[in-house]
Amino acid sequence: MLLSERARRLLFPARFFFLLAAGPGLGGCLRHDPPAEVTIINGAEPESLDPEIITGQPEMRIVEGLFEGLMRLDPETARAIPGLAERYELSPDGKVYTFHLRTNLVWSTGEPIRAEDVVYSWHRALNPDTASEYAGQLYYIKNGEEYNTGKLKDPALVGVRALDDYTVRVELNQPTAFFIDLCAFPTLYVVPRRTIEQYGDAWIKARPLPSSGPFELVDWRLNDKVRVKKNPRYWDAANTRAQLVDFLPITSPSTAFNLYEQGRADVVWDKNLVPAELLDVLMNRPDVHHFDYLGTSFIRFNVTRKPFDDPRVRRALGMAVDRQRLVDKIIRGGEHITTSLVPAGTANYNPVPGLAYNPEAARTLLAEAGFPGGKGFPRFEFLGTTAKLGEDVAVELQQMWRDNLGLNMTLHPLEWKVYLSSEAHLDYDVAGASWIGDYNDAQTFLGMFTSEDGNNQTGWKNPRYDALIHAAGEQADLVARAKIFEEAETLLVRDEAPIVPTYNYKGVNYFNTNRIQGIHPNLLDDHPLRAIHRVSPP
């Protein structure tokens, strides 16, 4: 009697709250969808799925399934192959492309896709009101930059026109060797005009959402999942291998790994999702794949600050970096060290070797610059992020520069946004940095160190370098162009050294090839969704 009363009194609040929570809450919040054919752990929650807004890899990997451009990427090589356009012609001066659209193109909702849709999409990407951060990818088109920056108000003056329903004529400012690759870049994808005009900024939430790519969007729940299903109306639907694909937005490496190990996810495709503690073990597993891709890690000098205004100082510091030790001890993903900015394997180009590790020569050079044995060299700061890996690299550099040159460096790790802002405003001495190629061409790496480029961020301005990059842009002959780029890169990584490249990135993903196929290693770490499929039943 007493016991039951006691129990009842004590349990009353708990029971009350439990019912309060469990009743409506659980029913409303948990949703168990039918399982997808392929589940991919995709990294961060997509910031957007609008091709003309997105800037990051997690977004691009989803959007690549939903929309398509005139060209698309080959799953094995990541080179551009015909997409919505079945072929194109290039004028002899290399400035005018004529694209011929396939005649069987329709949106996933059934309406036809015409040349006007291409023109609309590119105008939209350049329209200042769209506020596309990647609008620069269309600056190669005549008057593209002028329209985007507001110097020209009339989009009709932009060099893209529909000659008829199936023909698009594109006029460029210069012969641009990689323009065809850009036509497979998300900012240049073809988007549904009617839906955008009807729903405005919220168009991506319209259902059904017309898609021009191999998949259509079923569901997008924040921090939960993005689900896509095969678009049967896609022109190449016969070669779309999977029916239903889920993307899970997960940023915790151990969570990603656990879900994979439990069989809840099939593919994890981001190096940041490999638990650092398990890196050494995982790198040797057959289901962990690593491959070269177009990304370079480098060190930036702020050349507007003494003593880094002296190229001898910068070169001395560069030659005192033992890159192999950095890679073996800290990075540990099998990365290749490099002294050039442009990664090996970049199309139509052979990177120029820069300053190799040579502590002896580095000391001599530093003495020439007036700091024998590091004497008189002011204490300086290394700007980095608070990420563990970045700090470890900084500590290693600190030791190398102290042991080899007798220099005193302090670490200055900052929160990500503050780091970016300090770097952009030249509020640093030496900083860690990296660059990942947007397309497979030396321009995406070398172009950023021209005097006025916003990504230069070293304060280094060299008229000869600027002239070389400009000349390379005008050059239609690929061999001659490569020669000019080589001259520019020599200036950048050997003679002047406002930056010191350290190692090239590796793409890492893990999936069991006995279950999942169609994901190929390539230089852009790009894996078109249409090729991915499950080989044995789940």
């Binding site: 708990a14 309060l20 948990l30 951060e133 924040l222 921090n223 952009a424």
Partner: protein, 305 residues
């Protein structure tokens, strides 16, 4: 009348909170649109600023924000998730966080109240020491440690429960445990303290001298007073639990709003930071009101004029 006045006072308080939050996030270095790659032209950044009215003077931005909030209940667009409004994100994430929070809350009370009660009733004997030790442990070991241990044991090794995600009732168990343990420990400790204090109160001595049975004494008289510290604590605790936990949501990949509480300020997602600050403030003010009201029910000595 008293409670009505309290609600009225909450409005200027919320205004101050929103103003402070607004100024603070705008003062922080960096902007929502700082990225590793700077756009091809400075004009592009200006378009972005203009699209979100960041080019206006800050007082004007603040008034615009207040107007949107007052007139349409609109917390504005997210500057990080450009397809979503802040309302949208809260509408998607809050129900999940509230569900998990309420479950953890019930778990904390369901475990903490009896544990504290019995520990006090058996004061100085082994159940007291064991209970107090466990409660201390629950308070001291952070979720960051407990979660991986539970995942390791129950999900990875034994495979009884899923490692993460938010899909079916079994998915709920580990996050609830991890989130609730700390609070269960706190509740147990408060309850035990409260009981010990209450047992020494004069009215208990008086009741005992009148010959009241020990059990009736504990349950009927001491409990009502002893539970008061727990009740005061429950308000802020519930506000904490309902707005989600960054660590738990991150480890278990739960689509709540806890992750946004931390990430939005790291991302300088201005509207999101302010929106969540206001949401949290509203919950806190509201729940404290509920706590004060509960006092009047539990303790006849408390009266508000």
């Amino acid at each position: 009348m008293y409670f009505f006045r309290r609600i009225l006072f909450a409005i200027p308080l919320l205004l101050v909170i929103s103003a402070v939050a607004f100024v603070l996030v705008h003062l922080a270095p960096g902007s929502p649109f700082d990225r590793e790659r700077v756009p091809a032209s400075p004009e592009i950044e200006r378009h972005l600023q203009a699209a979100y009215h960041l080019d206006e003077p800050i007082w004007k931005q603040y008034l615009r924000y207040l107007y949107g909030l007052a007139a349409h209940g609109d917390f504005g667009p997210s500057m990080k998730y450009r397809n979503h409004s802040v309302n949208d994100i809260i509408a998607q994430g809050l129900p999940v966080s509230v569900t998990l929070g309420a479950l953890a809350f019930s778990f904390a009370l369901g475990l903490g109240l009896p544990a504290g009660f019995f520990a006090a009733a058996r004061r100085g004997r082994w159940p007291d020491y064991a209970g107090s030790f466990l409660a201390m442990l629950a308070v001291c070991v952070p979720g960051l440690v407990i979660a991986p241990l539970l995942i390791m044991g129950l999900a990875v090794k034994l495979q009884w429960l899923p490692v993460a995600l938010w899909e079916s009732p079994p998915h709920v168990i580990l996050p609830t445990l991890t989130l609730g343990l700390y609070f269960a420990g706190q509740v147990a400790r408060l309850m035990r303290e409260g009981m010990l204090n209450a047992m020494q109160a004069e009215f208990i001595t008086a009741a005992r001298s009148k010959g009241l049975g020990e059990n009736e004494l504990l349950f009927k008289h001491a409990f009502r007073i002893a539970v008061l510290p727990v009740v005061s604590y429950a308000g802020p605790m519930l506000a904490d639990l309902l707005t989600g936990s960054f660590i738990i949501e991150n480890i278990f990949q739960i689509p709540g709003i806890g992750v946004f509480l931390v990430n939005s300020s790291l991302n300088r997602d201005y509207n999101m930071v302010i929106g969540l600050a206001l949401l949290y403030a509203i919950l806190l003010i509201g729940l404290n009101l509920v706590v004060d009201f509960a006092y009047t029910l539990l303790d006849p000595r408390v009266k508000y004029e």
